[in-house]
């Protein structure tokens, strides 16, 4: 055993770990494709994916099954993955940059801002829809083409406004930048949720119900054409983090240390905040405010693989978790979907209790 671990030098061990996680990601895509109303076996799911890559479709796979898998389930799995990976990386980067272990992607009022944007859009479209016959069915208002077009946009605009407000409040200087950012984040958060509650108070119950459904998070809207933006932003975000990974790590060792290593501390902190916010805002807009993943995954990576802060590991673990949470959301109840946000919240609180009692034992 010792010879074995000596063989696995740290760098190679990280490579092995990354490869294992990659394999797990691919297998999860196949497994997660098996859950749902239509029964699709592992081998069939696998051959459908191969078919999508150019291989001929075997005779025993129904055409309908392959359509269900490729048009409905795969986009959903890919959306869940990018959501988990993006939130986890965003939390990881913000924790380093603010040196705050409790930092998460919603730290700067993003979720409150996005909710406000969503509420405004829902109220407006409900008002417009009220005159049309389509809105008579209540919830239908949120499924009309108008809302599909604007709910994510509204959430994105709301999130962006809140982040820009935080930046404007905290200024661009280096002096106690972190503290000012955190406090303006809290202030903005409260302000926007107050405004949101106010608008909600004067709107119809339908809007409240739609908002609740949206804010608990769901990947049900996933489709190939809505996947483009999240994955594009995710790619940019990963590239940004890869380029700056040394500098971000140095910032966790303090502003003075990072400064003395030639890192433009104040500027990099603001750019990181903007990048994390862009990623989070896009994700919130497309699948709602899903909590705890951005907070939890970086801690899990630190606990499980101490001293090995590879961002690939963070991203893949986040993505994997979300894919399986979505499977749970689809499979736990026989004929109904559970909100994703509820499951991550339960996992998250359980995780922190384990952390709490684990610490006490040490």
């Amino acid at each position: 055993m010792r010879a074995f671990s000596a063989l696995l030098r740290p760098v190679e061990a990280q490579g092995v770990l990354t490869l294992l996680l990659m394999a797990a990601c691919i297998l999860s895509m196949v497994f997660a494709g098996m859950f749902g109303a239509a029964d699709i076996g592992f081998r069939q799911a696998f051959s459908v994916y191969l078919h999508a890559l150019g291989a001929p479709l075997p005779a025993d796979v129904a055409y309908l099954d392959s359509r269900i898998l490729l048009e409905l389930r795969l986009p959903r799995i890919l959306l869940a993955f990018v959501c988990g990976a993006g939130l986890a990386l965003s939390g990881w980067a913000l924790q380093l940059v603010t040196r705050n272990p409790l930092a998460d992607p919603y730290l700067f009022g993003i979720s409150a801002g996005a909710s406000l944007g969503a509420i405004v859009v829902l109220s407006l479209t409900a008002g417009v829809g009220a005159s049309s016959a389509a809105a008579a069915a209540g919830m239908a208002a949120s499924d009309s083409w108008l809302s599909v077009l604007t709910l994510p946009t509204g959430a994105f605009v709301g999130a962006s406004v809140s982040v820009l407000l935080v930046l404007a409040l905290s200024g661009f200087g280096l002096q106690s930048q972190v503290e000012r950012m955190l406090l303006s984040g809290v202030a903005t958060s409260f302000l926007f949720s107050a405004l949101g509650s106010l608008v909600l108070y004067f709107s119809s119950p339908q809007v409240t119900a739609s908002l609740l459904f949206w804010s608990l998070g769901s990947f049900a809207r996933a489709a190939w054409d809505t996947l483009m933006v999240p994955w594009l932003v995710f790619g940019l975000f990963v590239l940004f983090l890869l380029i700056n990974r040394r500098e971000l790590l140095a910032m966790s060792a303090g502003d003075e240390t990072a400064h003395s290593l030639g890192v433009p501390v104040a500027r990099l902190r603001i750019i990181s905040l903007l990048m994390c916010s862009l990623m989070t805002a896009v994700l919130v807009a497309s699948c709602g405010g899903i909590g705890f993943v951005g907070l939890m995954i970086p801690h899990i990576v630190r606990l499980m693989f101490p001293a090995r802060q590879s961002l690939m590991i963070v991203a893949m673990l986040g993505g994997l978790l979300m894919v399986w949470v979505d499977v749970l959301a689809r499979a736990l109840l026989p004929s109904q979907e559970l909100p994703v946000g509820v499951i991550t919240a339960v996992l998250g609180s359980g995780f922190f209790l384990v952390l709490l009692f684990g610490r006490r034992d040490r």
Binding site: L249, S252, S260, G262
Partner: protein, 264 residues
């Protein structure tokens, strides 16, 4: 080219309060330069001006004859490495990851650590007596080990000038001596603040004595550490004699400031 730092008329004010007041000096050649003075004398502020963390209100600093503002971030980080006094609690980073931070000014976008870098990291760890500590979590090291790992990080940076703020605080006597001897042995230009005057006397080539933001004395330990100056600046009574080993001043303090014991 010979390494040099020259400071002329350096002032730094916060809310109209001068923390550094017209400080001027010139240091040249490899050596160990100690900055001493009572609490609040402006020692850390002086160092922060030297490593460009704060921009002085007035005055000029030249390093190797070049004004500080003329260096790019990267150039400056290759010239000057800093070991600050305190670190925030680090996330679970390995010793190696902390030391590898010193590579930042030498690394381009996306480039990983190659065999050469690993050799440099291991050499630096060896030099500070932490061979084989690569995978140890930095947070679990003792105070002395942390301090030495941070010095290793600074060495990986390959600077011409090394600036340390209180490198011996939190260390027991043996590690205080070890760390300072290590710095002396390294053969780089070292500027550090030291609280323990006898330690400064024994191991520094030259001392800068600060008092309320002004430079009061500069010179060899035997020139700076006089009974009169120590009395004036630190407000203590002492006698100074030659140390039996190295001949530099050895300070004996007199105790009792409540008027209960006899002053000489």
């Amino acid at each position: 080219m010979n390494t040099s730092i020259s400071v002329s008329d350096l002032c730094w004010q916060v809310n109209g309060q001068p923390l550094l007041d017209r400080v001027s000096f010139h240091l040249a050649g490899r050596g160990m330069y100690g900055v001493i003075g009572p609490n609040g004398a402006g020692k850390s502020s002086l160092l922060r001006c030297l490593y460009r963390f704060i921009r002085p209100t007035c005055g000029e600093i030249l390093m190797n004859g070049r004004p500080l503002a003329m260096f790019s971030r990267r150039e400056f980080a290759r010239l000057v490495a800093v070991v600050p006094q305190e670190l925030p609690p680090l996330f679970e980073l390995s010793c190696e990851a902390v030391v590898a931070m010193g590579l930042i000014p030498h690394k381009g976008w996306l480039s990983g650590n190659n065999a050469d870098d690993m050799r440099r990291i291991n050499t630096a760890l060896g030099e500070v007596g932490l061979e084989g500590y690569n995978q140890r979590p930095f947070g679990k090291l003792s105070g002395g080990e942390k301090q030495r790992a941070l010095i290793a990080r600074a060495l990986v940076q390959q600077p011409k000038i090394l600036i340390l703020d209180e490198p011996t605080s939190h260390l027991d006597v043996r590690f205080q001596i070890e760390v300072l001897e290590l710095l002396k042995r390294l053969d780089v230009f070292v500027v550090c603040t030291i609280h323990d005057l006898n330690l400064a006397s024994a191991l520094c080539d030259e001392l800068l004595l600060l008092d309320r933001g002004r430079l009061v004395a500069k010179g060899k330990p035997s020139e700076v550490l006089s009974e009169r100056l120590l009395g004036e600046v630190f407000g203590v009574c002492c006698t100074v004699e030659a140390h039996p080993q190295h001949g530099n001043p050895l300070i004996h303090y007199f105790y009792g400031y409540n008027g209960t014991s006899e002053h000489p």
